[in-house]
């Protein structure tokens, strides 16, 4: 086996053991296999994974599912499978031009690996996955969770756990958006097609994850503000020298979430008033403006 082959085999081994297997082990209520299947197809298309091995792997999974009388990847999860199916044509179009892909292969692989590693950390984190799963619960259960604190016996929905999961999810978003933002500015003589290819790859990867991250629609996005508001309701942070952490955090949170692409196009822009209302839990107070004094790590 030559070096590129052994690297792509190692990549697939890692993906299966650290991402796919984590989904198998997880009982969380998320349609992850549909998403991860698209990761595999896209990764194989750019040569990050071995295409033949990916085909074999997916075939084996399909056989297993059929034996288990499961007809589709994430049936029963209540998700619109068209959300994920819609990516298939886009992936094919993206990987169609082998020569262009080959020319930018190193950059594309670096980006893909980075995203994969970040996602492996999120998928292996119980607090993060617990938080993301709750974003998809029904409205009644959600209201109980954010208002009730220690609602469930295993305390996986305690405010402390949700706060930890929120922190992990936000860390992920910050990191991903930082990668996207720095690529063009880091290079002063970038070739146009390279950049467009990189940006398209990043956008696709982001959009794959939008459902899981609760950012494919307004309601689940608003729940980030619910959790952040619940956290503030339970801690005593004081205003020092006009620095009001609650308002500063709102501005940062709004700016971060508003920058994430919404593949369903259900929101052109996050509704600031509604976000604020959920954040301050209906208190009669105007939202802050778009600027903040916080720095970025």
């Amino acid at each position: 086996m030559n070096t590129p082959e052994s690297v792509s085999h190692a990549n697939l081994d890692f993906f299966v053991s650290e991402l796919w297997a984590n989904v198998d082990r997880s009982s969380l209520f998320l349609p992850l296999k549909s998403e991860l299947a698209r990761w595999l197809l896209l990764g194989a298309g750019i040569g990050f994974f071995d295409k033949t091995e990916v085909d074999k792997f997916l075939l084996r999974q399909q056989v297993n599912w059929q034996e288990a009388h499961v007809l589709d990847l994430d049936v029963g999860y209540g998700v619109e499978l068209t959300f994920f199916n819609s990516f298939d044509v886009r992936i094919k179009m993206f990987v169609a031009n082998d020569l262009v892909i080959e020319d930018a292969r190193s950059d594309l692989h670096a980006i893909f690996r980075n995203y994969m590693l970040m996602n492996s950390e999120i998928l292996a984190d119980r607090d993060a996955m617990g938080f993301l799963a709750t974003l998809h619960t029904t409205g009644d259960i959600w209201r109980l969770i954010v208002n009730g604190g220690e609602l469930l016996p295993d305390t996986s929905h305690s405010v402390k756990k949700l706060c930890s999961g929120l922190a992990k999810a936000l860390g992920y978003l910050e990191h991903v958006l930082a990668i996207k933002g720095k690529i063009p500015s880091e290079m002063s003589e970038s070739r146009d097609f390279d950049l467009s290819l990189r940006n398209e790859l990043i956008e696709m990867l982001q959009e794959f994850q939008s459902y899981r991250l609760g950012l494919a629609g307004v309601e689940s996005t608003l729940r980030y503000f619910d959790v952040a508001g619940s956290v503030f309701a339970q801690c005593e942070l004081v205003i020092v020298d006009d620095f009001d952490p609650r308002r500063e955090i709102f501005v940062e949170l709004y700016n971060l979430l508003d920058r994430w692409p919404d593949p369903s196009n259900s929101r052109a822009e996050l509704p600031r008033e509604r976000c604020w209302s959920r954040y301050v839990r209906q208190q009669d107070e105007l939202p802050p403006t778009a600027t903040s004094r916080m720095g970025h790590g």
Binding site: T3, P4, S6, V7, A10, N11, D13, F14, S17, E18, R105, S106, D107, H109, A110, R113, N114, L117, M118, S120, E121, A124, D125, D127, K160, K161, C163, S164, L166, A167, K168, L170, G171, Y172, E174, H175, K182, E186, M187, S188, E189, S190, R191, A228, V231, C235, L237, V240, F243, P245, I249, E252, L253, L256, M294, G295, H296, G297
Partner: protein, 301 residues
């Protein structure tokens, strides 16, 4: 002005590490690998979130910084928000003993069998660099001190006098790749953090919520003057007085000029590298960029 460069394909194998979730390795395939570099993130950090810029740029700039080309890179994950420093140090030691052991074969290259397995040399590599950021630096130093204290205890059990005990510890340290390691610390929290509350801890959104979700015990352990930090400094300085040849007791340190999180101080046996990383804060100091190559230069065997 930086120019775009043709990135060489990263020919490292990505490997997960049994028993250490979220930790992983990047192992070179193309060269004889004699050096290991282990990265330990800080409070609320993660292997990829903190260190990913090293992964791409160390390949891209391998010509300028050739020691990166042949090094095996290990990215260690631990619970920096809830588990005590001491516990994390013990676990880091287990991690190192596992990944550095000649018995664990991360290497794919059949042409590189590595050092032969025998009782004299249980280590896979000849050189080790331990790289820590913030809390990760504290964990590394506690791990090093634990290893020396264990050696000393073992020597005392044999009723050695003070002179022979020092020789015995030095000899033991010489045979330990972990104690032969070189330490490179970015913005270490060894002298404590300069905040008194959650708000002061944060530089960004995720760190703010991480601080709220973290254990107060961990935050208190990292405060200036905490019993954990004081005993670590005292123990390390004393150990260095007795064993100045143990490399892992000393550290080279790089601070950013805009660090508002930790005290810019050092132990007596350390060296703060000058100049400071101008314009960099606590978080950006350890993240190389095309326009900021100090981290790649700093992490050198």
């Amino acid at each position: 002005m930086s120019t775009i460069r043709t990135e060489s394909v990263d020919e490292r194998l990505l490997k997960s590490i049994d028993g250490f979730p979220k930790s992983y390795a990047l192992i070179p395939t193309s060269a004889l690998t004699r050096s290991a570099i282990v990265f330990v993130h800080g409070f609320a950090g993660s292997p990829t979130g903190t260190w990913c810029d090293f992964q791409g740029l160390s390949s891209r700039y391998a010509k300028e910084y050739p020691w990166w080309r042949d090094a095996a890179l290990f990215f260690y994950s631990y619970d920096s928000m809830r588990s005590p420093i001491y516990y994390n140090a013990v676990r880091l030691r287990s991690f190192l003993e596992y990944i550095l052991s000649v018995r664990v074969d991360f290497h794919h290259n059949a042409n590189d069998p590595g050092p032969s397995m025998n009782d004299e040399n249980p280590w896979k590599y000849e050189n080790l660099l331990l790289v820590g950021h913030s809390e990760g630096a504290v964990v590394i130093r506690r791990m090093v001190l634990n290893a020396i204290e264990a050696l000393t205890r073992h020597g005392r059990e044999q009723n050695l006098d003070e002179v022979k005990l020092r020789e015995w510890v030095n000899q033991g340290a010489h045979g330990s790749l972990i104690l032969r390691a070189r330490l490179r610390l970015f913005a270490p929290a060894c002298a404590g953090t300069n905040f008194s509350g959650v708000v002061g801890f944060v530089g960004n959104l995720s760190h703010f919520f991480s601080a709220l979700a973290s254990s107060s015990l961990v935050r208190n352990e990292l405060l200036r003057g905490s019993p954990v930090l004081c005993s670590l400094q005292t123990g390390t300085d004393l150990a260095y007085r007795d064993h100045p040849n143990i490399h892992a007791l000393t550290a080279k340190i790089l601070f950013g000029s805009n660090d508002q999180i930790v005290y810019t101080d050092k132990y007596g046996c350390d060296e703060i590298i000058e100049p400071f990383a101008e314009g960099h804060d606590h978080f950006s100091v350890c993240k190389p960029k095309h326009t900021y190559m100090r981290p790649l230069e700093f992490v050198k065997p």
